[in-house]
Each structure stands twice: as C-alpha cells, then as structure tokens.
C-alpha cells in the first residue's frame, strides 16, 4: 500500500515537529484546517468514543482574550516557576510566546475540549491528546507552525465562556496555527537511552 520510503518520510515529519511561537499574519485556508481536523479525528480513543471537540477560532477579539488569559496565568504563576527550571534560551522563547503575545498572533486557534458525557473525566486526556498530536503532525507535514498549549485551561470556565463549551466539556488545550515567522530548528530532545529501560525500570535499553 505504501512504500518503505513513504513510511520513512512519516517518521521524518515527527522528527521535525517543533513548537512555533512566532507567526506571520498570513491566513490559513479553511481547506487546510479541515485537513488538520480530519487527521486529528483518525486518532485512537478509549472504546472508540472519540471525545474530542474542536472549536476553530479566527475572531480577533476571542484570540486576543486567549492571549490575555495565557499572559495573566503566565505572569502570576508560570514565569516565576519556569525561570528557575528552564534553560535560558527556552525560557526566553516561552516568555516571548506566552507573556509577549507571540502565540496570540497566530491567525487560527484551535480550542480542544474533551466531552465527559461520552467518557469519564479520568479517561479524557488519554483519548484526546493522541488526536492533538495527530493535528500537530499534520500541521508540520503541511508546512504550518503550531504549538500545544495547556496553560489557559487552568482557568477552564473562562475558556468555556469564550467558546461556548457547556459544563460537561473540559477545555484541554489551545493550539495556535499559522505560518512560522522564523525557521524552526529541530526539536531538542534527550536521547532514547535516557528514557528507556529493558524489562525493568533502570536497566538500560541500549
């Protein structure tokens, strides 16, 4: 059905996915957003309940409100915590993206909810974040920038009010989407060996 080379290119897309925190204001067509959502909706979920709910937001005021919400939470809790734990380059990037409004400039924000009327709340994250990752990979494959953010969901009721989610839908993520304003480097990740064990935790995989 697919060639070995094609399959390898899929793995390559995962290898160049990277959080984008600076966007141009070029519009993203509906057809492209539909394609991202289509790929997201292929993901697995507990009992195939597909609890993901997406709201695609282009409205300037709503996006500005998301940006303000993220900025407030970042100023109040995030910055102080992160300044001590992040490496300085990443801290500056996050601080510009969340605190400085870089993310808010993305022309599309996809708000991702989990519907607790179809799955217990304890199962929502494991059945929604695979779909979010599909969405991020599809964006990467199509040359778009994206960023998985969860900070705004600390004020779930504010996000619910902004997009009209009923109480049974939990906001789980907001994903800004747009064209990258700067080239994205490769992701900086620890090697497999640092996170992987053979048979028992702590026995080196390789």
């Amino acid at each position: 059905m697919t060639s070995r080379a094609e399959d390898e290119s899929c793995l390559a897309v995962a290898g160049r996915q990277r959080a984008c925190r600076h966007y141009t204001d070029a519009a993203v067509d509906d057809a492209i957003i539909t394609e991202l959502l289509r790929v997201a909706c292929c993901a697995p979920s507990s009992q195939n309940q597909q609890p993901w709910r997406f709201v695609v937001v282009r409205d300037d005021e709503t996006r500005a409100a998301f940006g303000e919400l993220m900025r407030e939470i970042w100023e109040r809790f995030g910055r102080r915590f992160s300044e001590g734990t992040l490496e300085p380059a990443l801290f500056r990037e996050v601080d510009e993206g969340v605190g400085g409004g870089g993310l808010a400039k993305a022309p599309v924000h996809i708000v991702v909810g989990g519907d607790s009327s179809v799955l217990d709340r304890s199962q929502l994250a494991s059945s929604v974040f695979p779909a979010v990752q599909n969405l991020l990979l599809a964006a990467t494959a199509l040359g778009l920038g994206s960023c998985l953010t969860t900070i705004a969901t600390l004020r779930a009721d504010d996000v619910r009010a902004l997009v009209g989610f009923p109480p049974e839908i939990d906001p789980l993520a907001i994903v800004p989407i747009g064209y990258p304003a700067r080239p994205l480097g490769p992701p900086r990740r620890n090697p497999v060996e640092s996170n992987s064990s053979r048979e028992r935790y702590g026995v080196p995989w390789a």
Copy 2:
C-alpha cells in the same frame, strides 16, 4: 526539505492507524523498537521536560501478568460497562483482546510512565500521550500492530511492581507491539463535521 507527496504519505499513515488485538508470535527486532522509541521521544511536552519513561517488556511472565491484570479489571468492571455502550462488533473485538488474551500475545509490551519528579501530575497526561501517539504512528508506518491501552493503570501499584517504577512514576499506558495476525481495516471514525465548530461550540464548521 520534503516533497508534497512525502508529506501526504505521513497523513495517510495516520489514516490507517488502527488498534490491533491479535498478534502473531513473530519477534520484533531491537532495532525496530529503538526506532519507535526514537520517534516517540520527538514529541512535545510541557516546558520540554520530556516526562515519558518507557520500559520495553519481552519477558513471558511479565507479559502474562499484564494480561491477567487487564483481564481481571475487564471482568470486574469493564465488560459489564462496555457491553451496554459499545457497538457489538467492537465489543467482541475488545472482549477477545482484553478478556480473551489477544493483547497479551503481542511479543513486546511497552509500558509508558510519566515522571512526576519533572512535571506536576496534572500535566503528565498532556505531555506523555503525544509521545504515545508518535509511537503508535511509527509502529503503523513500519507495518507493526499496536494498541493504546490504559486499563491496567487502574491498578497503578501492580504495574509499578511489575516493571520497577518508583512511586513518583505513574504508569499511564501499556502498548502491545507485534505483527498483526489479521489484516487491519481502516479506523471507524465520525466525520470531522460531527466534532468541529466554527468560532463557538455548536456552530457547524462545515
């Protein structure tokens, strides 16, 4: 860097990912498992903390213990709940896979933990399930069967004991990996329109 055709093949892999619940006993080489882990480790995570911890289990006794754990939880809670909610074909498939030991036959089980010493427990799922999804997509791309299961994690301490996770590592998933014993059909998913809204929840996307 990549061609449009290559990017489209990445999206196609997402489109043919499907839970596999029947495996041959053909071994899966270490090199292939390493490739799956490498792709998993490319995923995004909160503050790039990469809280995923993988234990690759081939040991017969440990895999049998996972199978027994899943079966017990399924018999006690899952079957009764699922029989009423799942469509009959999917119920039979899950019942054979979890209750009937289909999953336990997979020659490799990857136990996925989230390390609460690097991220708050409230943030682990959103920073671990994207990596799990990368792993599942890589398995699909390479012709392997896989299945995202979380049922065993309802008895977290039992899973911890089986793989030696310390108390600060939460077991979040067990992913059986192997070659499919039967051809996998395409995933059965609701159309994008049923899950997606424009600007406000409930306003049709398309």
